[in-house]
Amino acid sequence: MELCQLTAYQLHEMLMRKEVTSREVTGSVLKRIAQVEDRVHAYITRTPDLAMEQAALADSRLQKGNAGPLTGIPLAIKDLICTRGVRTTCGSHILENFIPTYDATVIEKLKDAGAVLVGKANMDEFAMGSSTENSFFGPTRNPWDLERIPGGSSGGSAAAVAADECIASLGSDTGGSIRQPASCCGVVGIKPTYGRVSRYGLVAFASSLDQIGPLSKDVRDAALLLQAICGRDNRDSTSADVPGPDFTKALIDNIRGMVLGIPRECFREGLDPEVEAAIREAIRTLEKLGAKTVEVSLPHSEYALAVYYIIAPAEASSNLARYDGVKYGFRAKGNFDLMEMYKETRSPGFGAEVKRRIMLGTYALSAGYYEAYYRKAAQVRTLVRQDFEKTFNQCDVLLTPTSPTPAFKLGEKVDDPLQMYLSDIFTIPCNLAGLPGLSLPCGFNKQGLPIGLQILADHFQEEKLLRAAYAYEQNSEYHLRKPAL
């Protein structure tokens, strides 16, 4: 077994026992990248030199004995999290040459923890998409089947983990952008409670929905990474002032007495039969382990997609107004007046999906339509949120499929935005309500494509997610399979 195939926790133990050095681990990951990156294309920017420098630093920390669980562990970072001095493109032409002058809070924390950054992961432009096909730098491919999408928008982060091109990674989740690619690539992904992780330095898409979270090879690694990045930050006023618990304490192989809610709306038309079978099997496994199940109802979840595709584009249209060709990013060359300059810069600067959402959002916020669309959506959002409040009186966590189908083929849904949006039907309600959610592998279909189980919990109850997920993982072996690349 190569070092790059191990988990962060396994590597940490080896590093502490001085069986390996971080330079060896990083070297193994860089070698793996060189072998498979041509086929997978998980990265927009690779930083091998920086990685080796950081690995050397980590080794000296390990020597001195002041190392933490992530010291010397090579990680990939989604390319919309600002990294000082390292190009951060958001998968967009307009930020193609943008070099941040500061680190995001999560990057500061990872650097303090001694982690090694091997590169910036590919993504749908400005995190808008479910397939990573909307990247200006070309699509990422699913390591399980190179003709298929890795999910999105954190497709590069998920594919890099699945292909062992990093040990773990960070993604961001606005409507499912961590969980859906985790499901498509057979890895673990957590979208933390809104406010759990600082968004300072995360390039904004929809500010009331965005959260940064980990993608990893198993539940323990996800917990370790979440532990490292969470916490109150003065530079993000929406980051919550709640104490960060010790998430690893939740990793106990025992879910006796835990109540699992199964929303009846999930098993509906459009759900792939093999996905349904895998989810039902996972529920049975958890029942055998001593959990109780109860059927619950989320009557307004069917409207969540419509709500999301008003609120997220509305916030995006406002957030993306900053790309004006003045302060940073691309500016069209030519003899233009100010208005022309904006239009000539923004029109080629953004891809089709981003422009579609800017248009949709601008329309929804424009005079005469605000009440009908934006305010109405915000009201239905309240009802979606209240549904969850009621169900969490009856159960500890909810179980659903992460995505209605396994990974689809490249190009399959490109022409039909609405079909593409439907890939996020199970993940979106969680973002609207600000809840934490986790996806982990719970099976494979006949073609060998991974299937993901989604677990949702109430605000700041990540420990419950981790406990249920860890117990399941200890009694299954889907997370141990590797794609043949």
Partner: protein
């Protein structure tokens, strides 16, 4: 660049090298300030001269060759190859997805919204966007079925209000660093096209 604020003008002679002949003329004709330095006039006349133009063309080519040597063009070409699928403008030529929707939004409205969003589309793109936006808005119509009388809107899932912190001095980035990503800057300022007529 182009139509620039007056204070920076005398410094920007090389910009004319980048421009075609006509653009240089139009640029010059917009400069109604009568105190052009002498060398600028010379430069202008020099550009009018066909032989000189060839010379300046040659300079541009030499510049490009230099860039090519540094491998930048090669990289750009590679990137071009990798741009694919829905990002690509070629998709815009594909047939619209759903033709028979109720047309909530017209071509004219799309044009108006595009202006609000500081975007512009060609006729084909506009057609496609109109169709796609209509099919998406049709989908949104289902929200009308939900009774929301007396329901408060949720703008933030985890409600917080009045988040205060100490108003204390903290390190910040330098002027030079904050301008480091600007597409066009001069002497500590972002440079923009002329704003006031």
């Amino acid at each position: 660049m182009g139509d620039i604020g007056i204070p920076f003008l005398p410094l920007s002679a090389p910009i004319f090298v980048d421009y075609e002949y006509n653009e240089a003329i139009s640029c010059m004709s917009r400069l109604k300030c009568g105190f052009l330095p002498f060398f600028r006039k010379c430069w202008f006349l020099f550009n009018l001269f066909p032989a000189a133009k060839r010379f300046s063309g040659w300079r541009v080519k030499a510049q490009r060759l230099k860039e090519a040597r540094s491998g930048r063009e090669k990289e750009a070409a590679e990137l071009e190859k990798r741009k694919r699928l829905c990002y690509d403008a070629k998709k815009i030529e594909d047939p619209p997805v759903n033709g028979e929707s109720g047309m909530k939004i017209t071509n004219e409205e799309v044009e108006h919204v595009a202006t609000l969003a500081r975007l512009k589309f060609n006729a084909k793109e506009e057609e496609l966007f109109t169709t796609q936006l209509n099919s998406i808005l049709d989908y949104m119509e289902q929200l009308e079925k939900v009774d929301t009388t007396n329901v408060e809107p949720t703008f933030h899932a985890v409600a917080r209000k009045n988040v205060f912190r100490e108003d204390s001095v903290a390190p910040s980035i330098s002027q030079d660093l904050s301008l480091s990503n600007a597409p066009d800057r001069d002497r500590g300022f972002f440079r923009v096209p002329k704003i006031i007529e």
